[in-house]
């Protein structure tokens, strides 16, 4: 595997320097986390959702690299004012596009951001025991990927403990 420099584009750099919608939201309707600090990659989303299932406000916090920060930030911009069903359709590819493209080694940042968003949406309905035809039992690609990364972190942690 080669070790390429990371030519972040201006949009990623701008969102890194001046992230939009940064910070904890005290009156969030739903909060979701994806990733694990062991992987150096973790995102928290805070969503304020109204009775019409519209996302009124979204904010984030991120423990991660510049791409992680930028993708989390852009997701909060993209989903503002969206109905949850519409937000559910966002894919990691559209997030990568929205930040002007990502270096391939940073695709997983976009995946993790969308994973956190979908978790939040799933959690919102689950807490209210509401089922939606568009919200399948089976986890979406991004949710699966986030879970996989977290499982991997746990495995590594376990392995480290047994080695010590």
């Amino acid at each position: 595997m080669s070790r390429m420099p990371l030519p972040y584009n201006p949009k990623v750099l701008e969102l890194f320097k001046n992230p939009k919608n940064l910070g904890k939201m005290e009156d969030a309707t739903v909060t979701a986390v994806a990733g694990n600090p062991m992987c150096g990659d973790m995102i928290t989303f805070y969503l304020k959702i109204n009775d019409q299932e519209i996302i009124e406000k979204a904010s984030f916090e991120s423990y991660g690299c510049a791409a992680n920060i930028a993708t989390a930030s852009i997701v909060t911009e993209m989903i503002k004012g969206m109905h949850l069903e519409e937000a559910w359709k966002i894919s990691w590819k559209s997030v990568a596009e929205a930040v002007g493209g990502l270096p391939s080694v940073k695709f997983h940042c976009g995946v993790l951001a969308v994973g956190a968003l979908k978790r939040a949406i799933r959690k919102y309905y689950k807490e209210r025991s509401v089922s939606k035809s568009w919200l399948l039992e089976e986890l979406s690609f991004e949710e699966k990927q986030a879970l996989e990364e977290e499982e991997l972190a746990k495995m590594l942690e376990k392995r480290m403990k047994t080695e010590k």
Binding site: M1, R3, M4, P5, P7, Y8, N9, P10, L13, F16, K17, P19, L22, G23, K24, V33, N36, P37, M38, C39, G40, D41, M42, I43, T44, E61, S62, Y63, G64, C65, A66, N68, I69, V105, L152, A153, L156, E157, M160, K164
Partner: protein, 406 residues
């Protein structure tokens, strides 16, 4: 490429710039560049093995430079200095060349857990090819466990490799003690040490240490990149690992890089000139950096030992709740250039194996920053770094917010 241009534009108008990423590449001081320049096109640009004036000039130059480096290393003869294209190549030559020369004596290789990848990966490759590999554990300051080393050496052991100074955390290993332990158990075991972070940075003498093989690197002492050397003690058998036209360097085929060899020798000369004074200067700046960062910023951990147990130039700190790649970018935008042991900057999932080996948690390793000072840095440089650092850490921690493991 367009993106890179934009990234560079974002750095315009910096009031000061301080480069501390000597681990990964270095600036070459003007006096070294000037020493090299005549050798590109004014003299000694011939092939040193050929029978004409420019060839003989090259031969004379290379021998003279090897003699200078030999003197700085404490070698008996210049034949013991074998130039290679760098530290990576010298380490590959040491490990593979020994394995190949000694394979009939045994198949066991021992390296420390915190070796640079040019030792570690090569040893792991040999393991896949039928050699047995034992990695000696280290304690939380990075010192090799000598008891485990003693227990591991047997009559099958052909090679032990442990760095004189760790490249990431600056631990000065008790090399002499380790070597005696190894030789007591098996006098035929070849002892190699990557001394790239020791040469010119701590008192280091291959003969008084009794080393069989030692790697040194030019850029680590501010010489040009693309040149290094493997010291091979007289009588130690190492086989070359590349084939081709052999010239003056019996262990490395190809045309000698005379200008770089000159630069390497000049860098050595400068590193050893006023050696004690340089060392004290670097130690002062190192401690300013470590003490300044730990007093101005909360939740900072020093990685590696302190004071005299640590290399004069090395500062490695973990900033908790702060992902390293994000921090290196933030620091860069403010003119401070450093590297991180974070998995993100390394493009692999796992962070620095050195930090993991000394018992740092992954999230501590992800927040690590490695800095090396040189004799050219000033108090003002370090003051500037200490001015930028707290703000950078604060901003990245602000993004992290409550996103951390409770």
């Amino acid at each position: 490429m367009e993106n890179v241009k934009e990234l560079l534009k974002a750095h315009e108008g910096l009031k000061r710039e301080v480069y501390l990423d000597i681990e990964n590449s270095s600036m070459v001081p003007q006096e070294i560049v000037e020493a090299m320049l005549p050798y590109f096109n004014q003299k000694a640009y011939g092939n040193p093995t050929l029978t004409h004036k420019l060839g003989w000039e090259a031969f004379e130059t290379i021998m003279e430079m090897a003699q200078k480096i030999a003197a700085n290393l404490g070698c008996k003869t210049l034949e013991e200095v074998n130039f290679t294209p760098g530290e990576t190549e010298a380490n590959n030559l040491a490990i593979l060349g020994t394995a190949s020369a000694q394979k009939n004596k045994g198949k066991k290789i021992i390296v420390s857990e915190i070796e640079p990848l040019s030792v570690m990966h090569v040893a792991e490759m040999l393991q896949k090819n039928g050699f047995s590999l034992f990695k000696i554990p280290v304690n939380n300051e990075g010192f090799v466990n000598l008891e485990k080393l003693e227990a591991a050496v047997d009559k099958e052991t052909i090679l032990v490799s442990t760095s004189a100074v760790n490249h990431e955390i600056g631990t000065i290993q008790p090399i002499r003690e380790a070597l005696e332990i190894v030789k007591d158990k098996n006098p035929e075991t070849v002892f190699h040490s990557d001394a790239s972070d020791a040469y010119g940075k701590i008192p280091f003498n291959v003969k008084s240490l009794g080393l069989d093989l030692a790697t040194i690197s030019s850029y680590k002492i501010l010489g040009p990149r693309g040149i290094g050397a493997l010291y091979v003690n007289e009588g130690v058998n190492v086989e070359k690992i590349l084939e081709g036209q052999i010239g003056t360097q019996k262990l490395w085929p190809g045309v000698e890089n005379t200008p770089s060899i000159v630069g390497f020798a000049k860098a050595s000369e400068l590193a050893f000139e006023d050696f004690e004074k340089n060392l004290n200067h670097m130690r002062k700046l190192r401690d300013m950096l470590i003490e300044g960062a730990t007093s101005k910023i909360s939740d900072v951990k020093l990685n590696g030992p302190q004071d005299d147990k640590r290399a004069s130039d090395n500062a490695n700190l973990s900033f908790l709740g702060c992902e390293g790649e994000a921090l290196t970018i933030e620091l860069s935008l403010n003119g401070v250039y450093v590297s991180s042991g974070s998995a993100c900057t390394r493009r692999v999932l796992q962070p620095s194996h050195v930090l993991v080996a000394i018992g740092r948690k992954f999230e501590e390793a992800h927040g690590s920053i490695l800095m090396k000072v040189t004799r050219y840095h000033t108090d003002e440089d370090i003051q500037y770094v200490l001015e930028v650092f707290p703000k950078a850490v604060e901003r990245i921690r602000g993004i992290t917010g409550s996103t951390k493991v409770e």
